[in-house]
Symmetry: C2
Subunit: 599 residues, 2 copies
């Protein structure tokens, strides 16, 4: 059986001990977001996630969504859970107070979203997609559009979607065929086309669904430069805000998928549906990209969230399940066998899960806090704002890809600890692996993230984004690598970091002459970068833990565990970089030499 | 969509060019198993797998098995397919002619089984379990038992199972509780207990099911030394061979699993069921172990088989799907986009899949041929027989664990190449990943394989098993590493091989003083060993390909692909050993230091 309790103690560690969440309350508009507010909101959110969302996770997977005559019904309990979620104000958490939001920081929403995804990844898709739609309208809509659409999405009465993918294109949105024909009304178009893979595209949780749809105007240039964004509601909205006629939007079916079965993944057919241009003609890609960055960080977060549940569940099983004897002699001779936790290989798996999950949380929280700063720092701190914005841009593909790759690994290790029982649906572990598998695929498959890193972020502003990471990390590691206590963490990280810098320079150079050189190394480079970033984060965690441990009343074990996990990371996981650097060093030739037809 | 064509050309390469399958026909009793027989049988088997088994793979997954009132119904088409399978004599392929078998070698059965598992892993479970039961009865049964049970299992009228696992124990069979009470009839017992995870435990494909059940006699010593093996049929068999009364064996339910859904995984309740002792009192574990070795090789084979289907399917998709443009400029400017195959990261994934799958086939075939030699070489070649037996024993845990770990990786890369479409059931790729996931768990989870390697095989006969691999590989690599053409393959393999030898010596030493040192390194050691073994195999493949290429009429592309894949393996995959050796070098401390309660 899976278990889940929100890791509030670790949240406190990350927010108050490792980082200083107090900085957030100093940002304009966030003065109420004090550390105490964070703690209180997360404690309340934890109850909802543990008691309402987690109990319907396994049943939701078994039942899945139902589709009949264009209508989608979510699994038993989802509607009731959504009503509690909405009534609790959770859809409004980080939204603009001008439209009914609570105006809390992205960082707080980040931790809350982790709990939601840990408890029930499928459920979290519905409010998650709404948040994405909300952000697009908030950033790119005009005053009237904001007034019409935002309050109802923010209070959860309506939900939102992002309609990008079509049968012939996912990654390559330049191939989009959905058409938008002008009408005599200004800004109003008739949208016609078929979108697939639309999460929350149709369901029974809300009164209306507001689709954000990429489509092409008649005069549009070819490719991505000719794509525009439209608001296309399921039901039209009257001037007084009441729901009007059904729009020409129909769900053509739902996909049968590997996982997140309680999340409705829909085919949505638009047949001369009324749509409202947002973000200007041919400005669709720019508008979508602003949503996409946040969405990509959110997907990385989903990964670590599922990893947390996998770890907690595998840990509980390893403590409880009696199987075999310790290699060094029975530890519980009075029992029929020792618990799994005595076995080194079980410990190796648990520590891997823990090092990746806790490290990922700290890394992602660092980026989330930078996002709040990038969004809110005043003009008087424009340099710092830019620095934070750069860091978010740089780390987004790394957080998205590495955290989800690790999460799949972590979920599979969790299954492995359960042995054959991990393969059985009722025990819940295989669902975690199936569910989290989507995170490596959607919002840009992880290979696309790697190309974003080596093809865009690496060279952007003449390498300025890279320096936002390299310079402070270099300073920190040089200062700590000879420290008697911290050196065991900082020194190996520095060695990997130094090689990462060398490889970066080589790759930037070779990539200029031959882009395939960058492309062939991209996935391995992203992973090496991510592992080094985790090394840096684990060194900082170790630093704080060493400092806190001395005066930790009754909590020494908490910090000891952090230190042991940091040591494990340095000894057993960071060495993967050696393989990656060697593989990158082989260049593009081994990847490109085979003729396509010989595959 | 998935596609599958039996890779007969590669079979020919492995059997006739890389190895000399002609050696098999020189073994006593195998004189008919000439290379031509191999080719003819495999061609015939390919048709069955491609045309009968593969088309019901996806539908079998979607429908799954049905359970009602103790009766299990397999999915649509399975009964018809099984009848064709049986009528074609495929259940009898490698079985003893004295009982109706065709007496063909294990090596031939190996390649046929690969095709079956590539086409339909679930289907293959039914004859696969029969083969295991058959082997146990053949090796450990008395003359009357063989006469009663073997002919009907061999001709496929009946099937078999292996009943080991109970709710409280899987790996740790010493905890078995199922009881065997003597009756007044000699050798006849009443079996009572519950077994779980029984593949093919109940189904509608055969007239009878012959269970091989581990149970405990009343006077049995504790632990594994007190376990006996029993034949327990679903229907009793009358002296004339006709079916008699239903025995006290009932299916209590089937598991809902992550994959292999068309394979019935049953709870089997024995309630004073009539059972027949086989292999002597308390001789159960010994008897099971003889089956288990073959079964473990078979599971490794399942892994590579599914990897083959994943590769073929991903390759077809990468050629067909138009998405994005080559980084070096459009390759098909007249099409809306270039096919995926132009992208370096897609090629990296495909080459990884190919290197692991083709390398695995050659490695496993090497072991399969050694198995035939170990079983059949005459006393006049006792030394060579022992050498082959040693090699099989050593390589069994490596083949089982590494090939299945790689297969899961390969299947997931296949999904990744499909992007979001890989997550959709109808496209078949996610099924491959779900199906093959079981191979890492059953027949001894892969962590257990690693312990078998470092805890048993490494020290067995004072390291004799290890030398069966180390000595010839050392000779071969030393001889080839300075070769102008072969050096690029042999030299990197030799470097990894030399480190493997060092690590082996260190680990053997440290493990004596503290078994946790061996346990903590076991999984990484097995993988490093496996990767070095694949390096050796790819060097030999390269050697043959270089030699054949010169005179290859129209087949130069086949050998070029082998060489390019070998190069890719050396440059991009073998370097993983660097990470593994570094991680192993860290010793047990990082794994063992954290107190159990601090996890």
């Amino acid at each position: 059986m899976t278990v889940y309790k929100a890791p509030l103690r670790d949240y406190k560690f990350v927010l108050e001990e490792l980082f200083d969440v107090g900085e957030i309350a100093k940002l304009p508009g966030y003065q109420d977001a004090t550390p105490d507010t964070f703690a209180a909101v997360l404690e309340e959110g934890a109850k909802l996630c543990e008691e309402v969302l987690f109990p319907i996770n396994l049943s939701g997977d078994a039942e899945g969504c139902h589709f009949e005559n264009g209508v989608v019904r979510t699994p038993k309990g989802f509607k009731e859970a959504y009503d509690l979620f909405r009534q609790g104000g959770w859809t409004a958490l980080a939204m603009d107070p001008d439209y009914g939001g609570q105006g809390l920081p992205a960082t707080l929403n980040f931790f809350f979203s982790e709990m939601v995804a840990s408890a029930n990844l499928s459920f979290g898709m519905y409010p998650g997609l709404s948040a994405g739609a909300c952000e697009a309208i908030h950033k790119h809509g005009d005053a009237a559009q904001k007034k019409t659409w935002l309050p109802k999405i923010i209070d959860g009465t309506w939900s939102g979607t992002m309609c990008l993918t079509e049968p012939q294109c996912g990654t390559d949105l330049g191939q989009i065929k959905t058409r938008a024909e002008p009408t005599e009304r200004d800004g109003v178009y008739k949208i016609t086309g078929t979108k697939i893979f639309i999460s929350a595209g149709e369901h029974d949780l809300t009164d209306n669904i507001v689709h954000l749809v990429l489509a092409r105007l008649p005069d549009a240039p070819q490719g991505t430069r000719g794509i525009s964004l439209f608001i296309v509601p399921k039901f039209l909205v009257k001037p007084d805000g009441a729901l009007g006629a059904r729009n020409g939007v129909r769900c053509g079916g739902i996909e049968h998928k590997m996982g997140i079965k309680a999340s409705a993944t829909c085919v949505i057919n638009f047949d001369e549906a009324e749509g409202y241009l947002i973000g200007g003609k041919h400005g669709g890609m720019r508008a979508m990209f602003t949503m996409m960055n946040a969405a990509r960080l959110g997907v990385g977060l989903q990964g670590l969230a599922v990893g947390e549940t996998a770890y907690q569940s595998a840990r509980a099983y390893a403590m409880d399940r009696l199987q075999g004897r310790s290699l060094t002699g029975a530890k519980f001779p009075d029992k029929p066998a020792d618990p799994l936790i005595v076995h080194p290989d079980i410990r190796r798996m648990l520590l891997t899960m823990r090092a990746y999950t806790e490290g990922a949380r700290a890394l992602a929280a660092w980026v989330a806090m930078a996002e709040d700063k990038a969004n809110r720092l005043p003009d008087s701190a424009a340099d710092e704002r830019e620095a934070n914005d750069d860091l978010v841009g740089l780390m987004t593909p790394i957080v998205k890809a590495m955290l989800t790759d690790n999460a799949y690994l972590v979920s599979n290790l969790g299954m492995q600890i359960f042995g054959g029982h991990g393969y059985i649906h009722d025990n819940g572990m295989e669902q975690l692996a199936r569910d989290v598998r989507i995170t490596q695929l959607y919002e840009g498959a992880n290979g696309i993230q790697a190309l974003d890193l080596v093809g865009r972020k690496m060279s952007q502003h003449m390498g300025r984004l890279m320096r936002r990471f390299f310079h402070p990390v270099d300073d920190y590691l040089r200062a700590t690598m000879t420290d008697p206590a911290l050196g065991e963490f900082a020194a190996p990280t520095y060695r990997a970091f130094a090689r990462l810098q060398q490889v970066t320079a080589v790759l930037a150079q070779k990539g200029l002459a031959n882009p395939d050189e960058a492309g062939a190394a991209a996935t391995e480079y992203l992973r090496a970068f991510g592992l080094v970033a985790l090394g840096y984060i684990w060194t900082r965690i170790a630093e704080v833990s060493l400092a806190k441990k001395a005066s930790a009343n009754g909590e020494a074990a908490f910090y000891d565990a952090k230190l042991a996990t940091a040591r494990f990371y340095m000894a057993k996981l960071l060495p993967e970089t050696a393989a990656l650097f060697a593989s990158i060093g082989a260049g593009a030739k081994p990847v490109m030499e085979l003729a396509a037809e010989a595959f």
